[in-house]
Amino acid sequence: MEGNINLVGYGLSAIGGAIGVGLVFAAYINGVARQPEAQRVLQPIAFLGLALTEALAILGLVFAFVL
């Protein structure tokens, strides 16, 4: 069996991003559940958090391919 160990490493590192995205959206859902009218305020913040957390996973993907 042949392959590249990079991809295994990327799979491991994606766990971090996954936990981060989960935390962001858990907080968002909590906030909206407690105060539904805050949804418009919270939504961009949640997506910004998603984008920032995801950045690490994206860099990981690139490094997995490039290195």
Partner: protein, 268 residues
């Protein structure tokens, strides 16, 4: 993309997974053979998307009526979505107006180009070629730097990298981190987010299609029913991919608005 080593190909009769090379079809206009024209399928799809968007919004806005018909209503709704929930909410009531056209065209350009990945026969999202994503993120990168310079003069760079209220002792460290994260990592992640999600989604669909074909056509008798599972999984990913495609267009435009707002803001 040198070492994307999926399992080795060309072992007789075995499964040959699709590679990144399979995503980039030969160029349609083959002159200047040495370097190629770069005019491939994706380029054609970009032109098609521009024509589609222009056609749709021209048709939707041609006969503006007080009580909108179906088409006009759809056009107005999609315009209002970008204008209000991205532009107004993030850049702010006071000065969001000049940036609505940029946000609007970015959103629909990316949305249509992403959705091409889920249209049968077209079936490739244009941003799965990294050039598209670089160009789009490059436009945004230049835009918010120029906007910041116009608003604050050369002091913008100080404003952008020196946060207020940080102790002097650790200021050099913070400034270096800020320079890297604002001016280097930001455009890179902005473009690669779009590119990587589109590429990965398309690769998964390709993989499940190739896997199904292999399992049903070539595999041993007992493995053939497994092809049904890969088809089901492929269809599931296809649906999920539509969600991702819309979401990524939204995230791209949202980040554009946030960057523009950041360079217009008075303080860090």
């Amino acid at each position: 993309m040198i070492a994307l080593a999926l399992p080795a190909a060309a072992n007789e009769g075995g499964f040959v997974p699709p590679t990144l090379e399979d995503m980039h079809l030969p160029e349609i206009l083959p002159w200047a053979a040495e370097y190629g024209t770069g005019f491939g399928k994706q380029m054609l799809l970009v032109l098609l998307s521009v024509a589609l968007i222009a056609w749709f919004f021209l048709a939707a806005s041609r006969r503006g009526q007080l009580v909108p018909g179906k088409l006009q209503h759809l056009g107005e709704m999609s315009y209002n979505f970008v204008r209000n929930s991205v532009g107004k909410d993030i850049i702010g009531e006071r000065d969001y107006r000049p940036y609505v056209p940029l946000l609007f065209s970015l959103f629909f350009f990316i949305l249509v180009n992403n959705l091409f990945g889920s249209v049968p026969l077209l079936q490739i999202p244009t941003p799965s070629h990294v050039g598209t994503a670089y160009a789009l993120a490059g436009i945004v990168y230049i835009t918010w730097i120029v906007l910041g310079l116009k608003k604050h003069g050369i002091g913008y760079f100080k404003l952008a990298v020196v946060p207020a209220g940080v102790p002097k002792a650790i200021l050099p460290l913070i400034v270096i981190i800020e320079i890297i994260s604002t001016f280097l990592v930001r455009p890179v992640t902005h473009s690669l987010r779009l590119f990587a999600t589109m590429l990965a989604g398309h690769l998964i669909i390709m993989l499940s299609a190739a896997g199904s074909e292999f399992l049903i056509m070539d595999a041993d008798f007992w493995f053939k029913p497994l092809g049904v599972l890969t088809i089901a999984g492929g269809v599931g990913m296809y649906m999920f991919e539509i969600l991702i495609q819309v979401l990524q267009a939204y995230v791209f435009v949202l980040l554009t608005a946030i960057y523009i707002q950041g360079s217009l803001a008075e303080e860090h």
